[in-house]
């Protein structure tokens, strides 16, 4: 029964990382940019929740969503759009600088001490089925995660903008020669990434209630590990990678004895290096040759 409990927890955490990973993957798909500042979207939303403490919950979530999307669009417009034709290395350095800038601003404004977000804390309560103790949050994570992933999939499959995003991810030059506006597609990707990041934030908030300047970084780095391991080229493989990394992290954390647990991060980073070297297109993608890294 203990293992079923672990499994349920792992699925819940996997869903959250899948949301973050899909956001990273979509942006990479249409821009060929690994956005190291993705986590700062969650951070920005987290401080918004802190600042709006006392407002009705729905309003707080919507405000956080607005702030996150605004930060995402500013990031794209000011720092990344001018680098559209630059090398991937240059943009990687740029997103690293953006990440650092946002964290420094947060540190100056709110200090390195954590601030409590205080959102949906009731979701931490649990009900029991036999020996299983299931938090409402777990259900929420799985349901919200599933619904949002489904919605984004539908969006990509069914809408014109979704189709244009997939085409751009596959071959930007040809997509544009067919009339696809790069800016529309990129803005679309950043908006969706912002929505997904906010959703993940809202679901992280009850279990990690304290937001610090590094709050988003920790989440995004792990999600990025998942994206690389899963395969960045496709939204589906990036999402699966994110889920896998959240799931594996939770499972191993529960299963490993404490002395070995502390080296879990090293194992995950090591996995990233191995995947980059051996199978750069990712574990969850069919082709092994087409790597654009």
């Amino acid at each position: 029964m203990k293992y079923v409990q672990y499994l349920i927890d792992a699925i819940a955490l996997g869903s959250l990382y899948a949301l973050v990973a899909l956001g990273i993957g979509l942006v990479f798909g249409v821009m060929r940019i690994v956005n190291l500042a993705h986590g700062e979207l969650l951070m920005a939303g987290g401080y918004t929740l802190y600042e709006t403490n006392g407002w009705p919950a729905v309003l707080r979530v919507l405000t956080a969503l607005a702030v996150v999307i605004a930060v995402a669009l500013l990031m794209e417009r000011l720092a990344l759009r001018p680098l559209r034709r630059a090398s991937p290395t240059t943009t990687l350095v740029m997103t690293f600088a953006v990440s650092f800038l946002l964290r420094s601003i947060a540190q100056k404004r709110w200090s390195a001490q954590g601030k409590t977000m205080n959102l949906f804390t009731d979701l931490n309560q649990a009900f029991t089925i036999g020996e299983l103790r299931i938090k409402y949050l777990t259900i929420a994570a799985v349901v919200v995660g599933g619904v949002l992933l489904g919605a984004v999939t539908l969006f990509l499959d069914r809408t014109d903008l979704g189709l244009q995003m997939r085409a751009t991810a596959s071959d930007e030059r040809i997509a544009q020669a067919l009339g696809v506006r790069a800016n529309h597609v990129v803005v679309g990707a950043f908006v969706i990434a912002g929505v997904l990041a906010t959703a993940a934030l809202v679901l992280f908030a009850p279990q990690r209630p304290v937001v610090t300047p590094d709050f988003g970084l920790q989440i995004a780095i792990l999600a990025l590990v998942g994206v690389v391991v899963g395969g960045m080229d496709k939204p589906s493989s990036a999402t699966l990678g994110g889920f896998f990394i959240g799931f594996a992290n939770s499972m191993l954390f529960s299963l490993l004895p404490k002395g070995q647990r502390v080296f879990l991060d090293s194992a995950l980073y090591g996995l990233v290096i191995v995947v980059l070297l051996v199978r750069p297109s990712g574990l969850f993608q069919r082709e092994t040759v087409t790597s654009r890294l």
Partner: protein, 270 residues
Amino acid sequence: MSVQATRPILEIDCLSVRYGSVPAVRELSLTVAAGEVVAIVGPNGAGKTTVLSAVMRMVAWSAGDVRLDGESLRKRSSDEVARRGIALVPEGRQIFADLTVHENLRLGMVARRSRTGAAEALDAVFEQFPIVKTFLDRPAGLLSGGQQQQLAIARAIVAEPDVLLLDEPSLGLAPTVIDTVFAALAAIRESGRTIVLVEQRAQRAIAFADRTYVLADGVVRDRLVAADATDAERLRAAYFGADTRAVAGAGTPTGGTPKVGTPADDPVRR
């Protein structure tokens, strides 16, 4: 083929393109009239593909200008060029292999200028390329080379462009498939669209086009008309740069049938 009477739709004016320090196209000028079919032929590396990419703004210009209907494309991006009525069938098809045939066609429609008539345009394409309709929901990557080429052309014309640029549409296709492709191009010409055709298979292209430019080392080396397609000496001269007037004046091919006379054979490939 009366050309002089009609207005120029596409004007390339002293265009230069360089890749790093290597010039690919040097001060090239050519004009295409509305409704005309113009071919660009020449040996590998002559700059043919570069000309089309430059018109589409897919490569940067180092000098010169390209005008569509008198309006400069200098400040336009690739997607704007497409939405102003130029469509490209790129070299090597470049269809989206992961997307279905239908999705490829939907992408072609992004550049449509009128909001109405999309369904009719699609029907017209189905009529012209039945194969596209048959495999509508199949991933485009599963199509054969010839089918992919038809899809690539279909994807370009559902946008109902004024000017259709084709880059090596016969590349890597079997002779019978090439016939299908050229039949389709003939139908497109009938519909009144302007066509710029880049081809390695010079003879076929020259015969098909109203006028042909021969490119070498990024400059126009010669101009030909459809009738020249059967004149082996004229072709050889155009390709290898002998004094063309002298050859044209001599008029009499000597020494049996020259090799270039074989259909679908390229003088440059010998």
